[in-house]
Each structure stands twice: as structure tokens, then as C-alpha cells.
Symmetry: C2
Subunit: 327 residues, 2 copies
């Protein structure tokens, strides 16, 4: 078993897929001809917004919680999160029957807070700064003896996230597309992107390009990979509330070695993709979940992806506050 | 073939199903445990919001257009509609390669107007009154020689709508539910409800109850069936913009003979169901499409449907104006 400090590998993704079978949804793969026309090539849309808790995050959180020894799991798990990882960890802990303690900034979306509470987690409020989140989490870990499950800087979380890409490749093959020409996923802290690199590289080597999609208003991953060293996300400003965080040394390292490149797109492009997904595909996808569609359009426009290509896109989540929609 | 004036039968629904094969989508049947909890029994959700043009209306319009003789089809088809029938008729006509002329009130939702134009129909504007719509349509029929395809008071439209219920019954049986305990559908003009009565009665006799769901602010069908004669919808006031119209003598007659009853629900209940469908099932369903879920909850609460029952619910459409959402 991979230790906390290790870099996860393709084998860890395969082990995670076995561990998660029957617990996570095998989410549908779907298509939408109107969106294909807008993007300029054929997309296979991996519906992780239909995953349990409404986001791919449930894969990584569950893999990490289930990988704990009984001794380590006794006092439960903890994390700070403003979003989907909070709800994912809460349900993962409940699935294993151990407590979850989640530090949430007071700015967290109402729907995500309600979901986390609904899955039985203890929610500890804190001020909406990274310092406050980390200090509060340290207190919680001290008080409870819980194990921290980081939202993305964690080998089992990365491996669990990577299982979505294995399913995507398998489902595409079942549709006669083997292999896909490319896979495009969103990048925030880099957990999903890293897991996807491991999954796709392990399954198909360099035959299938992996791209990551990032908002121009939070383009730390694009700049980090372009400059060859980690540049933190300091003042992110984007509608993609799931993509505000910075890469970690671990995700930076994996992405440096296996990602084709990071494609940045504006919030306007993200919202256009999101509106098409809602209006034409009738799917509630959050901005961070729609960004990879917009990025693929850029790739086709720039000639990096052929109009004849079939591209797998992970719609990473669908948790939005209906009382505060961006359109 | 059924004449324009005839009452459609179960055989017409079966013929329609054959005629529509490969042209209409066999829409998915899905479930959502959170919604089951809210309703109080198990629902199988028939996703007609994923039908072409985003509504079951494509079934009836296409069946009617394809059933025309070549001579009758030459000058195209026409209707007045503020909503989904407009877009459905436009695409049905394009599928057959004949013109469509659609009279739309100036109050029609922007998205539905854009969709109708996008499918190549001629749109003729008129004032938002029934008188203006009928007078303008009469002029259009005179000018073009087109055949009128009424949105619901038409045997082939009713038979086409009924094909959704046949699919629902078949898909439920494939899931081991044979037969369902009940089917619940929205009722406006009564096309879908009538087609469902024909389909379900023809397949299962009186073993499967068919209920219709109607907003309290447009409860003409409930009052008509309760009093045994047609009571028109005079000043409808509801968020369900697809359910404003009155029954016709033809749909009244079919519903009188085969419907269990009409269940009325408030707009607040409709919006609660709609919000759950969006937030938890991640599906963009319009108010008229969500109403049958709310009605089923009433049926369980009132003891007419058992908590152990499995009920088929038709989510009839998903066309909403994202710039004017009801929440």
C-alpha cells in the first residue's frame, strides 16, 4: 500500500478501482450534438456530476478513508474544505462508520454546507482565509485524534480520482472508441488531473493526450508548468469556485511529467459551455465541471485537437447554489 | 389510419411507436433516492426532458407529420403555440422536408422561440390572446395551404404522446417492475394524459392506475372531470407555463373514461419538486415537467399510493429560460 508521503502510481489507481467497486457510481458517458457543434469535435462526456455527492471527489475521499487501517480510522477523519471534498469526506466516513470533522469557511456555499451536514459530519466554522482554515484544522486534529484527508495532496485521493478516467476509457471502448484521441479535465489543486494522468498514461502510454483546463483568473497551474516551478494561487478570481486552490509539490510533479499542457479559458467561455450543458443537454453542471468543454473548444480552434477527434471530457461536478446562479 | 375527427385507440399508439422508431429518442428511465424519500415511494423517472427538442411533444408532432399523405404534406404544416409544440412541429416538419409555419404570441419564452426558429420554421408573431392566435393561424392556413397540427386535440398527436408510456412500461419491465403500480403524468390540454391512458389501459387494462397532475392555478381538468362536463381554463395562474390550456372534447372524453383522477398541487410544491430534480438529480426539468413528482407525493400522503409502490412518472420537458428562473 502506498504510504502517505509516496507518489501514487497507475497500480494505485487500479487498486482504487477495485476498492471502490459497488460503492461509487459507474457514472454514465453521454453525448450532445449541439455541444459537439460548438466545440468543433466529438465529445464523450463523463458525467461525474451524477457521482454520489454530485462530484468526482467522492472517489478520492472514499478511497482514502477505506485505505485506512482500523486503528487509524478509529478516531475518524478530518479536512478543511469549502466545497465538494467536504461532502465527499462526510459520506465516505459515514460509509465506513467513522466520524468526519470538516472545517468550513463561513463563505462556503449553502448547498455544500447543507450536504456535508446532511451526511452527518461535524462542521467547524472558521474565517474564510487559508491561515484560519489550517489553524482550525490543526486544533480539530489535536482535539479529536482524527486523520487528515487532504482534498488533493494525498496519494489515495489522487488514485481514487484517477478511477474516473479508467471508467471513461473503458466506456469509450465499449462504444467502439479505443482509444480516445485525448482526455480533458479541470485542474484546481491537481488531484483529478494527476489521477487522470496516471490512469491514461498507465493504460495507453502517450497515445492519448491529457490536457487540463484552468480559468484565466486562477491560472497558477498553467504558469507553474510553463515556468517549471510551483507558483501558488494568490488572488484567484473566477466563477469556477472548485478551482481556486494551488497545486501541491506532489500534483505538480505528476502533472509536469505527464500532462500535455494546461489550457486556460475565460469565465465567459466557461459560462457559455455551462449554459449549453444546462439548456441543451439538460444537465446541471457547475462552472468547474463545465470548463473542460470550453477548453476543448480552444484546443480544436488552435489546431491541437482535430475536428475528426473524439475527446473524453470529465464533467467533474454539479453542485451549484440555485439561489446564486452565474446567469 | 385514424381520421382527423376520430378518437385515437391503443392500436394507434402501437402504430405510432413503430412509425417513430429511430426518429424519437428512447429516453432513459432513471431513479433518485433523495426524491424517493421526499415523495414517499419509489419513482421511475421517464426522462422526456431528454427527448429531441427537450420535450415529449416531439413524439406527437412527428407522428402527425409523418402520418400525412404526400399530397396533404406538400404545403407544410402549421400551428399556434407558445411553447414546446412550436419547436417540436418545426423539427418534425424539417425531418419530413416540408415547411412549418408557427404562430407564436409575443409573450412566448425566448428560448422556445429561438429553438423554433433554429429548426427552420417560419414564425408569425401575434398578440398573446387566444383570439389573436386563432385568427392569425386562420390567415396563415389560408395563405399557405398548410395543414394544421393541433398541439393536443389531434388523434395522431395523442397517439404519438402515448408512445412515451409504452416505453416507460417496457423499461420498467426490463428493470423487473412488471407492471408498475401507477403512472403519473402532467395534464394541460390533455394530449400526454390521453395518450398515456390509451397506452397503459391497452397494455395492462385497469391493473395500472393512471393519474394526472395539474396546478391548482389552472385546475380546469380537475374541475371538468369532477363535474362531468368541460370547464375551460379562463384565467390560469401558475408557474407551469406548459399547462395553461384547456381540455378539448376529445381529450376530455378519453380522460373521463380511463383516468383515475386529476391531482392538483400548488406552485410551491411544483417548485420544491423541481428544485430537488435540479439539485439532487442534476436534471434540468421545467415546472410542467416536475409537477407529476409533486402529485405523486400527494398521492402517497393521502394513502392512494402505497409507500411500497413503484410509480412511473413522466418528466415531460426541460425547456426553461435560464435568465428567468422561478427560483
Amino acid at each position: 500500500m502506498t504510504s502517505e508521503d509516496a507518489a501514487p502510481t497507475y497500480d494505485d489507481v487500479v487498486v482504487a478501482a477495485g476498492r471502490l467497486e459497488g460503492i461509487v457510481h459507474r457514472t454514465p458517458l453521454t453525448t450532445c450534438s449541439t455541444i459537439d457543434q460548438w466545440v468543433g469535435c466529438r465529445l464523450l462526456l463523463k458525467c461525474e456530476h451524477l457521482q454520489r455527492v454530485g462530484a468526482f471527489k467522492f472517489r478520492g475521499a472514499t478511497n482514502a478513508v477505506l485505505a485506512l487501517s482500523d486503528d487509524d480510522a478509529t478516531n475518524g477523519v478530518a479536512a478543511h474544505s469549502s466545497g465538494n471534498h467536504a461532502a465527499a469526506l462526510a459520506l465516505a466516513a459515514r460509509t465506513r462508520g467513522v466520524p468526519a470533522h470538516v472545517v468550513m469557511p463561513t463563505s462556503a456555499p449553502v448547498a455544500k454546507r447543507a450536504a456535508t451536514a446532511g451526511y452527518g459530519a461535524e462542521i467547524i466554522d472558521c474565517a474564510p482565509t487559508l491561515e484560519a482554515r489550517e489553524a482550525t484544522l490543526a486544533e480539530v486534529l489535536e482535539r479529536t485524534g482524527a486523520v487528515e484527508i487532504h482534498p488533493y495532496d494525498h496519494p489515495h485521493v489522487i488514485a481514487g480520482a484517477g478511477t474516473a478516467s479508467l471508467e471513461l476509457l473503458e466506456q469509450a471502448a465499449e462504444c467502439g472508441i479505443d482509444p480516445l484521441d485525448a482526455v480533458v479535465v479541470p485542474v484546481g489543486g491537481g488531484g483529478l488531473a494527476s489521477g487522470t494522468v496516471l490512469g491514461v498514461r498507465g493504460r495507453h502510454g502517450t497515445d492519448v493526450a491529457v490536457f487540463a483546463a484552468e480559468p484565466t483568473g486562477a491560472d497558477d497551474a498553467a504558469r507553474s508548468l510553463a515556468e517549471g516551478h510551483l507558483i501558488p494561487s494568490l488572488a484567484p478570481d473566477t466563477v469556477c469556485d472548485g478551482l481556486l486552490t494551488s497545486l501541491s509539490p506532489r500534483t505538480f510533479s505528476i502533472l509536469s511529467s505527464g500532462l500535455e499542457r494546461v489550457v486556460t479559458v475565460t469565465d465567459d467561455e466557461v459560462l457559455e459551455a455551462m449554459r449549453l450543458l444546462w439548456e441543451r443537454a439538460k444537465m446541471v453542471v457547475e462552472p468547474s465541471g463545465a470548463i473542460a468543454v470550453a477548453a476543448t473548444r480552444r484546443l480544436v480552434a488552435g489546431g491541437e485537437v482535430s475536428p475528426d477527434a473524439t475527446v473524453g471530457v470529465i464533467l467533474s461536478g454539479g453542485n451549484v447554489d440555485l439561489d446564486a446562479l452565474p446567469f
